[in-house]
């Protein structure tokens, strides 16, 4: 699932050996390049063996635990052939219990063993999903199967892409690079020596190449280009506390550096009068909640203003590839969600097709599931423009870092009442109490000039201040 996911770190076991577990009941938590997620049990039964402890990082496809099924009816899925007969990937195991009896060749096993495999990252449990047809072995729907498939089952083309060559694998290992994030120029899109070396050596150019990949949020950044000669190591003094970075923290760190090195960041700030939007929101707050079952925040309005501006200035929905500019067809808005343990940017796909209510529902749902680690990998990928909202904490404005491979990010400051000098129709100045907010737009000056950014943000200001929204 997710071509670039090669491994995950088991962060927490939710069941102990000997405990009974229901099918789809959360079994353990895993932290991967893309998301942190709960892995549901592939089958019901007793957890008889846990092969890795918390903190262990395991490759995709690794059997991490064995569930002794409830009787011989427990099916043995047909995946991961090189593993024990009853090995199953988590995603497949969803349907496992509804599968036909085990194939004859597998009935010689203990018959009831059901192995959970670290198929990272899995979707949230979807117990209501109708069981897929039993044969042939089901594949994760949204998956790029290469990473998840055992090597023996991959085609030569897939192997060239995922395994490249001994040399490239060695270089990738030494530099902590995820090959899936590099655009390969070799056969079958293979990452060649030159690809990976230029990726490492030419920082910016490399990042552009990486930018082409469907890279999601900061938590799922393009490859780590950790240079061996990084910052000097710091020796902890006595009494200092040393903590190992989480996977997410490391990925955020790498992505931030990558972005800073890739894009020519410039930030421009507008103060926008949100009074009309605030009034609109106040008017509809209660009825909206009743009708749609979700809160009406300022964000859907801001999303629509941004969408309107992107339609007019599509360069803000573009990406850079070498000396080409790719204008993305879809407008997929990323929204940064702060978590206690980091940051994630779920993506509202094709946000331009959604109404205020649709945007509110999708955004609130994504934010909620981000906080409960139930995002699917697909939901943090493919963003084309990102909005971050430091204002919720009271910040006036900041200078956000662009979420690669995008070219701009909008930071919304605190929305609050301020005294504002206004001019009435007679031309008299007066001071009014208005609901104001600073909007800070960081853009990539490589392809966006200052004037474009002013026009873009000016358009957002115009839309929001006009307050003409259909709720």
């Amino acid at each position: 699932m997710g071509e670039s996911i090669a491994e995950g770190t088991i962060t927490r076991w939710l069941k102990k050996v000997g405990e009974h577990v229901e099918r789809d009941e959360p079994l353990f938590e895993i932290s991967t390049d893309k998301v942190d997620a709960e892995i549901p049990a592939p089958a019901a039964g007793t957890l008889t063996e846990v092969r890795f402890k918390e903190g262990d990082t395991v490759a995709v496809g690794t059997v991490v635990a064995i569930i002794d099924g409830d009787g011989a009816s427990a099916p043995a899925p047909q995946e991961t052939k090189q593993e024990a007969p009853a090995a199953a990937t988590v995603t497949e195991a969803k349907s496992a219990s509804t599968l036909a009896p085990p194939p004859p060749a597998q009935s010689q096993s203990d018959g009831s063993g059901q192995q959970a495999t670290a198929e990272a990252p899995p979707p949230a449990p979807q117990p209501t999903e109708p069981p897929p047809t039993p044969a042939p072995p089901t594949k994760p729907k949204e998956a790029q199967p290469t990473a998840a498939k055992p090597i023996a089952e991959q085609t030569v083309e897939e192997l060239r892409r995922t395994r490249s060559s001994p040399l490239v694998r060695k270089i990738a290992r030494e530099h902590g690079i995820d090959l899936a994030q590099i655009e390969g120029t070799g056969m079958s899109g293979r990452v060649t020596k030159n690809d990976i070396l230029s990726f490492i050596e030419s920082g910016g150019a490399a990042a552009q190449k990486a930018a082409l990949q469907p890279t999601p949020a900061p938590v799922a950044p393009p490859p780590s280009v950790s240079e061996p000669t990084h910052a000097p190591a710091v020796q902890p003094a006595e009494g200092d506390r040393v903590e190992q970075m989480s996977v997410m923290r490391k990925k955020i760190a790498e992505h931030m550096i990558l972005s800073k090195r890739t894009s020519a960041h410039v930030t421009t700030v507008y103060e926008i009068d949100m009074t009309r939007v605030a009034r609109l929101r106040e008017q509809h707050k209660r009825s909206f909640l009743e009708r749609h079952g979700t809160k009406l925040t300022f964000m859907p309005f801001i999303f629509q203003a941004v969408i309107s501006a992107i339609r007019r200035y599509p360069i803000f929905n573009a990406q850079v590839s070498g000396d080409q500019i790719i204008y993305k067809r879809d407008i997929n808005l990323g929204m940064a969600v702060a978590l206690d343990w980091g940051l994630i940017v779920p993506v509202i796909k094709r946000a331009d097709e959604l109404s205020i209510a649709g945007l509110a529902k999708v955004a609130n749902d994504l934010a909620e599931r981000a906080r409960t680690k139930q995002l699917k990998p697909d939901e943090v990928q493919g963003g084309t423009f990102t909005i971050t909202n430091p204002g919720v904490f009271g910040g006036l404005f900041g200078t956000p870092i662009i979420n690669q491979p995008q070219v701009a990010i909008l930071g919304v400051g605190v929305i609050e009442k301020r005294p504002k000098v206004m001019t009435n129709e007679e031309g008299d100045d007066y001071i009014a109490i208005r609901t104001m907010s600073y909007f800070a737009l960081s853009f990539d000056h490589r392809i966006i000039d200052g004037a474009d950014a002013e026009r873009f943000l000016g358009h957002i200001k115009q839309v929001l201040e006009a307050g003409q929204f259909t709720i």
């Binding site: 060559s165 001994p166 293979r190 060649t192 020596k193």
Partner: protein, 342 residues
Amino acid sequence: MATALKKEHKAERPARGGVVTFVEAIRQGIWEEMERDERVFVIGEDVGVYGGAFKVTDGLIDYFGPERVIDTPISEAAIVGAACGAALMGMRPVAEFQFIDFISCGFDMLTNFAAKCRYRWGAGIPAVFRGPCGAGVHAGPFHSQNVESFFMNTPGLKMVEPSNPYDAKGLIKAAIRDPDPVLFFEHKKLYRLPRLRQEIPEEDYIVEIGRARVAREGHDLSIITFGAQVLTALDAAEELEREGLDIEVIDLRTLLPLDKETILASVRKTNRALILHEAPRTGGIGGEIAGLIAEEAFEWLDAPVVRLGAIDTPVPYSPPLEEYHLPQVKDVVDAARRLAAY
């Protein structure tokens, strides 16, 4: 033998060094070694009066006399046996096969006796077994073969195949001075090839056995080859250079023992290896080199090791078929392109 030296020289000796062809270089080498060491003698079919089928030994009999340039009956077994016996008795024979294809007639003595003599009895066989190898001259299936892989699996033998006059002279001299049996292959197409004419030093020199040569430096891909195929590789490299591919060509020069260091250093640098030889691909020396690279340079490989050899048929007599059979510049260019694009 001592009497032979005292015989009057009837012929002029050739110049030392100068601009020479491949065949002249070998002749100079043998000549000089015969002058240098009275134990050195030449034996083979028509090597004397006729001067050898390819005239490698031309003039030797006039200069050194028939006791040091010995014509034999048509029996390679006899030639190998006589050479081995003489070597055991302290001589330094240089035995010629009229065509290297017929080395198989002496196979038993070469592999079971010459190769094992030092190991089994502590007595080296300081003999050189040389002859013209290779195809491309429309000589048909019995006069065109490359036999290195027949002997590759025989510890105790050394095998040498030069690709230019300088190396040919240096290697034949080194082979003659070597205390153990050396098989010396001379690609017949090179003997008088004008483009190979080369100025070689006047002074005595040898080319050390066991040392390959970087015939052309490059960074994108290594073509590992020897003999006449060095020219094919260099031509291909030149063509590929126009496409922006920077090809390294390794001329092995010695086939047994292989110069591992040079091969591995090149592959570790370019990360792509194309092995080119003229013998059929299956069971050819390319497999050994590919194995070596896989074992010792695996982590440096950015592409599969590719072997290019003749197709697995006898060498056809028909010129177009022979051309099809042998690896051509175009084949090398194609293979290198594919490998570079991997």
